[in-house]
């Protein structure tokens, strides 16, 4: 009876919340107060797949849901990306019958990495994907090793782990553990022998702290590595990116499946690979997955095309306080053969909490923008001077750099009849401030 009422109230609150455009956390919060172990009382589907890690969670979950739905399976998932226990509870109860059974074939849960332990206390997940561990929201999370400890506490012994073999910080979860499914990339044409990044979180072995050696870097600390002392090494992969052609925008998985890329970014290919891996394990045919992933455009609003006067551009939602996500967006801009101007906005550092900390700007490899394809660099927002100080420590000619504290002034400046493409690099917390100045396509 208690479960019945809790589920009913959660569903009603969810319904009412949708009508008034409220977020998806509150109904779950109320449900947890009424019945703290409600999640334990719910009968879950055969497949309960969770995804956590620093970056790529929302995109990966969306892709998996897309593939599975197109393959005729019913999927329950937190499509709003509300990924702490309250949001997950709302999602689970919204998809349950009043008798407490989730009838979907698969439940797919995006989970916040730091609070995964709390979320999965009562949910027995069957498959657990961990995408990567980067420096992310350090003002809240501290550093990747701290987040590692938090995720480690959420892993149960009988869960099947699906791990990014190329991330030495993630692979530790599968160290000395049987039955891990590994995904990763072979040496790729886009790789570098030397690291291109301001820092290297893979410089020392996460197990014994001896120096690590990389035979190849895919990007940042992601690559093929081996400890010089304890033997810790990148595992052989079960699901593999065997080749990538960034010019043509084609990805090859397991030597036979070819997927054409709507977004030519290494970032994107890891998300696709993780989605490919999960869908395969659930029994979807590789050809079918490739077909569904061909030119797949994410619907989560992370990549937005626009026009500004006569000019065309793309907003690449990046995360403030997350240098790897900025590095990826910078790489996408630099690959623009026709030439691109870049607008970077740092106005509110977070939409969830207050901080004035801009240390993370020093971890971003802005030096990469010293590139023949890059024209004007426009910096904007409250923290424009912090950005300018950071850029003054690159070799980029200072005459290419233009500063505007007001975001609308930056947009006005860019609406100047130049022919170059425009890339806007900024965060969720700031993107609406520029989207109101452009025409979204």
């Amino acid at each position: 009876m208690k479960s019945f009422l809790t589920i009913l109230i959660c569903k009603l609150l969810r319904f009412a919340g949708r009508l008034i455009g409220k977020g998806s956390s509150m109904p779950g919060q109320v449900a947890l107060r009424l019945c703290p172990d409600i999640l334990k009382r719910i009968e879950l589907p055969k497949y309960v797949v969770a995804i956590t890690g620093s970056n790529g969670k929302t995109s990966t979950v969306e892709m998996i849901a897309h593939i599975l739905t197109k393959s005729g399976k019913s999927v329950a998932w937190n499509r709003e990306g509300s990924n702490q226990i309250e949001g997950v509870t709302t999602m689970v109860l919204s998809n349950a019958t009043l008798s407490g059974k989730v009838k979907s074939d698969i439940m797919l849960i995006e989970s916040d990495e730091r609070y995964a332990k709390k979320t999965f206390k009562y949910i027995d997940i069957t498959h657990y994907v961990i995408t990567n561990l980067y420096r992310d929201q350090l003002t809240r999370n501290g550093h990747p090793e701290f987040v590692f400890e938090a995720i480690a506490e959420s892993i149960k012994p009988d869960t099947e782990l699906i791990l990014n073999a190329d991330d030495p910080l993630v692979s530790v979860f599968g160290h000395d553990r049987e039955g891990v499914i590994w995904f990763g990339a072979d040496e790729l044409s886009t790789d570098t022998k030397e690291l291109i990044s301001v820092y290297n979180d893979g410089a020392y072995c996460p197990i014994c702290k001896a120096p690590m050696k990389y035979s190849t870097h895919h990007y940042n600390h992601i690559g093929i590595y081996e400890c010089t002392s304890c033997g810790y090494h990148r595992e052989d992969t079960d699901y593999t990116i065997t080749a990538v052609d960034m010019n043509k925008g084609v990805l090859e998985i397991n030597g036979k499946y070819h997927i054409s890329l709507a977004l030519k970014s290494l970032y994107n290919i890891y998300n696709i690979l993780a989605a490919f891996t999960v869908a395969s394990l659930i029994g979807v045919d590789g050809e079918k997955i490739a077909q569904e992933m061909n030119d797949y455009v994410l619907k989560n609003g992370r990549v937005i095309n626009f026009t500004l006067g006569e000019r065309k551009g793309t907003l690449l939602t990046s995360k403030h306080e997350n240098s790897v996500s900025y590095d990826h967006s910078i790489r996408v801009a630099c690959a623009c053969e026709q030439g691109a101007d870049v607008l970077i906005i740092v106005d509110a550092i977070s939409r969830k909490y207050f901080t004035g900390d801009t240390s993370w700007l020093w971890d971003i490899d802005f030096e990469m923008l010293d590139n023949k394809n890059i024209g004007d660099i426009v910096l904007a927002g409250t923290y424009v001077n912090d950005l300018a100080a950071r850029f003054s420590y690159t070799d980029i000619p200072q005459e290419k750099i233009h500063l505007f504290e007001d975001i609308d002034k930056a947009a006005e400046y860019l609406n100047n009849g130049r022919k170059e493409y425009i890339y806007i690099i900024t965060c969720f917390s700031d993107k609406e401030k520029i989207l109101s100045e452009v025409e979204v396509i």
Binding site: T139, E145, S359, W362, D386
Partner: protein, 240 residues
């Protein structure tokens, strides 16, 4: 002038390296001939050769790895500080000059023991806070961020008084250590970029005169923005 960034690739969590870049540029702009060495685990630095040494913040595990290596510098560092030479340590690096660091599992690691303070780490908890603090030798406050998983007890000569944010431990408004020209603080990241007046003050110790700071326009404006934002926040908290 010889600058040393020690443990540059392992005590490097929050863009701390920029403190060395800032000092290098400041000295160069003021006519000094500057070289920077970047050394790490397993290297042997000739401590007394340097005019400025910097160490930044690391993960709790990396700090323990570094500590084992760092012990070899005990006598040389003690000598260096007594000779009034300039040493800046940010984040958990300066914990290593105290008596000990006890980790979240209760395991105690001996530290260099140049000072009597002790550090106790938490398990699964961090203290993070935007900071406004003052120093007796600066006429303007400093801004910054603290990001730590530990508390420090027993510092008698504090570097800063915190006006907003946290100090060495719960309920403390004193932060960091100051002894001669050794400055240790749990403020993280590029504090010399964020606080151009602090940079100028440290540079004056090396140059023997007030430095020219004309090249610090962005840093100066950035500092004012952050101070204004943090002050507004402090105000809102007090009223709220």
């Amino acid at each position: 002038m010889k600058l040393l960034h020690l443990y540059h690739d392992i005590m490097n969590l929050y863009g701390d390296y920029a403190n060395v870049s800032a000092m290098e540029r400041m000295l160069t702009k003021n006519g000094a001939d500057v070289t920077v060495d970047r050394l790490s685990l397993g290297d042997k630095a000739e401590i007394s050769d340097y005019d400025f040494i910097f160490i930044g913040s690391g993960t709790e595990k990396n700090q323990k790895t570094v500590l084992a290596d760092f012990m070899k510098y005990k006598d040389e560092l003690s000598e260096y500080i007594r000779a009034h030479k300039l040493l800046l340590m940010t984040g958990n690096s300066f914990e290593m000059l105290g008596k000990s660091v006890t980790d979240g599992h209760g395991v105690r690691y001996d530290a260099l023991g140049l000072y009597n303070y002790t550090t106790v780490e938490f398990t699964g908890k961090r203290i993070t806070a935007d900071i406004i603090c003052t120093a007796s030798f600066l006429d303007k406050p400093l801004v910054g961020f603290i990001n730590k998983s530990s508390e420090i007890f027993g510092i008698s000569d504090s570097l800063f008084q915190t006006k907003f944010g946290v100090g060495d431990s719960e309920g403390f408004h004193t932060e960091g250590i100051w002894d001669r020209n050794f400055f240790g603080t749990h403020l993280t990241g590029p504090i010399l970029i964020k606080n151009p007046h602090f940079l100028a003050s440290l540079a004056s110790l090396l140059l023997g005169r007030e430095p020219n700071t004309d090249h610090l326009t962005y840093e100066q404006k950035g500092y004012e923005t952050t101070l204004r934002k943090l002050s507004e926040r402090e105000q809102a908290k007090t009223e709220g």
